[in-house]
Symmetry: C2
Subunit: 396 residues, 2 copies
């Protein structure tokens, strides 16, 4: 098996000559791949851990890392880069691992009864935990950086502003926010644009937190937070927004989501979908699906566009912001590592390693892999009163 | 049959109460539909013409209009609007008409031997003719209007500037232009950005005209015009552009087009596809396919995106400029009508009626129907050096 591993590392090194690295094997041997100062050192502490990397691919590697049987010193993202490159990703999965992933998918299908559990798994880890690495507005989605100097706090507010401009929000308009999280979007829109907003979330923690903030700002007559499945939402709104929630919808429910978007929007109304997605319907990352986002599914751009078109939802602007998510995740990682001690006390070392892997793995996949961040602006039927150009998004 | 027509007009009128109109039947009877001042008067001069409207839908109506058996006074676009609305479009096609359209499609398949004929059909009508309604730069595609006051001339130059900015053209870079027309894009890019450009067209008229302009500006060392099928183009370029040519590619050749785009672009290079398209794969307008653009096919956005993704061409920005095409077509129509006398002398009255129908029909379909103008910016593989925002497109 060691020989197979050495062959694999050799092949990786030949494909990425710009990333020299070092491997320490369980028998004490150390090997260097590539030339120059190494980007990282990978330590395979046991033969079993090494075997799982070969047999179960990314899933095995990440599980063994979390268990502490594998260590990485140096640049973790450069190591993950080797794995997220389309040429190597999921290529070494054994039939058994493929079956396990398939069963995991089945178990995570987002039926109405299972969705609350899937959402709680992630979002009810506790507001205190998320405060350790999110910005002060508790925004848990890709930020929008306008310059090198922007802080994460600024970039999250700029994201909301960018979306408000795309939606052309006007005072007194109604806005529905599907998956409102801790309420950041609605608070911004009410504060700066005077809209009346209704948001929904399936996380009791988020709903409670959002309501507290709404009350603290005296915006109860402007914002309503509903602890509700999006499929139960009712009403007709001028504008529609959904930020970082679509990833939880699941492939089979994308048509239902679009039916709901169409039903909630007045004719000619404008909507914005902000979501992670891909160009190709490749297999989901099995580790992330198992440990981080059960029931998650990264939508495929052409499928989203088609499902919109079939319902007369007309795309008017699609922006790919993937490099903004790299920077957002790097900001989160910095804060996360600064608070790792505290987080370890809340949970344990395995949790810290798991979350570190999730944040760095995501950053690497946005930067070098196959995932993107799309903002899709659309109208419900044709709207001939839209601004002719996008200049208004960039006026100061 | 008259009764059927009256029922049809009644149904249309109920669906479009904001468009009152008048119909003069072949037996002398006149009927008014809707209330208020009429948008147009439709005169059905013969029973045969009326029968063809019922039996062959849009195809029959437009053919009979061109033949002079149907007249329209007033706002032609408002009349066409009734036909391009998805609820009525192509709904009344007889099985015979459907078969005719199918055969027409087969005859127009863009094989290598047939493409020159299909392109000549339209583009070799003579530069003199196109000068009667295009702007002075001879740009035969959607312009980009930044303000109410912009002239067509300005808007066409602004379109080129918008594309150059999207492509981030830099001095000394190489640019390939698939379907370069009369050379407008390459001339602009060489003049303002100092690029080295290679363009191809299948129209001998266009190639000759473009070369003359290149020579007149002394840009022979910057621009090469090749009378060549795009499938024969060779080389590796920094940037790729194709404006208003993709509509001639045909559905079955979209993968070949994308293979070529990928092959012509350096890794990480940027390309822009400017094309008419649709969200839904509805039947093509049979009249336009038969008389205006044989072999034409309006691509479907999700199919284009998917075909790109399958080849590692990554969409980074999609802009829907359909309202700009309405305005462009209205500008062309104005110039066309001002020169109708001269054009009638060049061809005949039937030609004038045909072209009038084509220009107004297109404008109506962009404004109220199912066609769009997409600008799709993409990179060949990932490019992590792109600007983070689109602000640079709008700086003055």
């Amino acid at each position: 098996m060691k020989k197979t591993l050495q062959e694999l590392f050799g092949a990786l090194s030949r494909n990425f000559p710009d990333i020299p690295f070092e491997v320490r094997f369980w028998d004490g041997q150390t090997e260097t791949y590539g030339n120059g100062s190494t980007a990282f050192t990978l330590t395979l502490k046991t033969g079993t851990a090494a075997r799982r990397c070969l047999g179960d691919g990314t899933l095995g590697f990440r599980e063994e890392y979390v268990a502490g049987n594998i260590d990485v010193d140096g640049n973790l993202q450069q190591l993950i880069r080797l794995g997220v490159d389309p040429r190597f990703r999921n290529a070494k999965l054994s039939p058994g691992a493929r079956l396990a992933i398939f069963l995991q998918h089945i178990r995570s299908l987002n039926t109405m009864t299972k969705s609350p559990g899937n959402i709680s798994h992630h979002y009810d880890l506790g507001d205190k935990f998320y405060r350790y690495y999110l910005d002060e507005s508790m925004t848990y989605s890709c930020a929008y950086f306008r310059s090198e100097e922007d802080t994460l706090e600024q970039a999250q507010q700029q994201k909301y502003e960018h979306i408000c401009r795309k939606l052309q929000l006007k005072e007194g308009e109604t806005l529905v926010d599907i998956g409102c999280g801790w309420g950041g979007m609605l608070l911004y829109a009410a504060r700066h644009y005077g809209v009346k907003g209704l948001g929904c979330t399936l996380s009791p923690h988020q709903a409670q937190y959002a309501r507290t903030r709404v009350a603290a700002e005296g915006l109860e007559r402007h914002i309503t937070i509903s602890l509700e499945d999006y499929r139960n939402m009712k009403g007709r709104f001028d504008k529609f927004v959904s930020i970082g929630m679509f990833e939880h919808v699941g492939k089979g429910f994308i048509p239902a989501f679009m039916d709901k978007a169409k039903g909630l929007l007045k004719p000619g109304g404008t909507g914005l979908l902000h979501t992670i997605g891909k160009e190709l319907d490749t297999a989901e990352d099995s580790w992330t699906m198992k440990y981080i986002f059960p029931g998650g599914y990264l939508p495929v751009l052409d499928h989203v566009i088609r499902t919109m078109g079939e319902r007369g939802l007309v795309p008017v602007d699609v922006e790919n912001l993937r490099l903004h998510y790299v920077r957002t995740l790097n900001e989160w990682t910095k804060r996360f590592e600064a608070n790792a001690q505290e987080i370890r006390k809340m949970f344990d070392d395995g949790f810290v390693r798991m979350w570190r892997m999730y944040l760095n793995g995501s950053a690497a996949s946005f930067r070098w892999g196959d995932i993107r961040l799309y903002q899709i602006l659309f109208t419900n039927g044709l709207n001939n009163s839209l601004p002719m150009t996008r200049e208004h998004l960039y006026q100061t």
